[in-house]
Symmetry: C2
Subunit: 244 residues, 2 copies
């Protein structure tokens, strides 16, 4: 039976992958992926055939993966973070829909909400939402509605794709929506280059974040606490409600 592994790479190098993910990459004949991620891992798996392409070529990448599987190759398509969170797991299933004979196994990994939260402290410890501000695939009106619902429900929020050159004011708009329901003093955090060279973080407030988004880029993940979140020894912590 033809087999495709959708392998989550986690936030950074091999150390942040699971043993299961490493084994799947070792077991396959061909590894496909986005240029940047293939370049990150190829030295660790020297005897594999690699197929790589550029941004926004996700559908082509999945088609190439399926083609290799249909030839009888065991193929791994890699995805940074967790493949099931804004990653390749969904589109791979969609592209292979006409081939139920190809088995697809998704190997989970650590998504940026979790890896970034660990760096900031424990901002997402209870109910939270993940929202991407990229409107390439989702209408901006829908993103706005989700931000409003998340803040109305007093969820902690992890924001993916918070800002790019073309979307320079989206994070500010997002903060304004959250500020309809949350106090400006709610702790907020930014983590840059999670698990990669240049990893660093900033702890701030929702109001300050709103007024100073210029340091945020496509390699950043943004965190906004809920009404109970606080800063302890420089870390953002959202209490679950334990009695100390």
């Amino acid at each position: 039976m033809s087999k495709i592994y959708v392998v989550s790479l986690g936030p950074g190098g091999k150390e942040q992958m699971t043993c299961r993910a490493v084994k799947a990459l070792e077991a396959c004949d061909v590894i496909t992926g986005y240029n940047v991620y293939i370049d990150l891992i190829k030295d660790d798996f020297p005897d594999k055939k690699f197929i790589k392409n550029g941004m926004r070529k996700e559908v082509d990448r999945c088609k190439a993966t399926l083609d290799e599987a249909l030839k009888g190759q065991t193929v791994a398509i890699v995805s940074s973070g967790d493949a099931g969170v804004y990653g390749m797991a969904g589109i791979m299933h969609e592209v292979a829909a006409g081939h139920p004979e190809v088995e697809i196994e998704v190997i989970p990994g650590i998504t940026a909400a979790c890896s970034g939260a660990a760096i900031l402290g424990a901002p997402l410890i209870c109910d939270f939402c993940l929202i991407s501000l990229s409107d390439l695939l989702t209408p901006w009106e829908k993103i706005e509605k989700r931000l409003d619902c998340a803040a109305r429900g007093d969820f902690c929020i992890a924001i993916y794709n918070p800002r790019s050159h073309k979307r320079a004011d989206y994070l500010q708009k997002a903060c304004d929506i959250v500020l309809r329901h949350q106090d400006g003093d709610v702790p907020a955090g930014i983590v840059h280059n999670i698990g990669r060279d240049g990893e660093c973080c900033e702890v701030t407030t929702l109001k300050e974040l709103r007024d100073h988004t210029e340091g945020v880029d496509m390699f950043s993940t943004v965190f906004i606490g809920n009404s109970q979140s606080k800063v302890i020894n420089g870390k953002i912590v959202t209490p679950r409600g334990y009695h100390l």
Copy 2:
């Protein structure tokens, strides 16, 4: 400097931990944790001192961890899934608040939303919420409001602690709230014993889930898709909006 690692174990055995988490456990003198998780890992780390206790003793466990660190030991407190998601990362920071000299490093892992989603296909591929139905630490009214907001925003939803003997009807109540905004045909899934013996999953619909919650217990994680989710070759897939 005294050091505490808060180590995420991921969904199951050592294979689903990251290399970084394994290294932290190897580097420490003492490992603390809930009985069940210590029993799962102790054979892999035979030369460590273990301190374990029972459910609902989270504060005591963190105090014991801090005591060991203050004695100069390097301590790891373990947490299943991701320590930052309904795990030990928050309460550990709270208990150690008076000791800024103790460094706390949270090592992230794979939370049940991600590990369960991988088994079901790709139900959480875009914006989603995590909501726990346990009202031990969160008032039920707040949980109800969050469910309503999540469904109103057309988020995919991962439900933790969906049902127990004492909370036999909570999942049904939760489905009724989601049904205010979502169609009954929206795909839903249940994953039991993720990463452990007896792992299995069911793909169903929101309406069917609502009427048949009896198989769901405290070892289950429940997934509800959004208005775009569909079933492809028996897997739940939420499209992001790519053109095929």
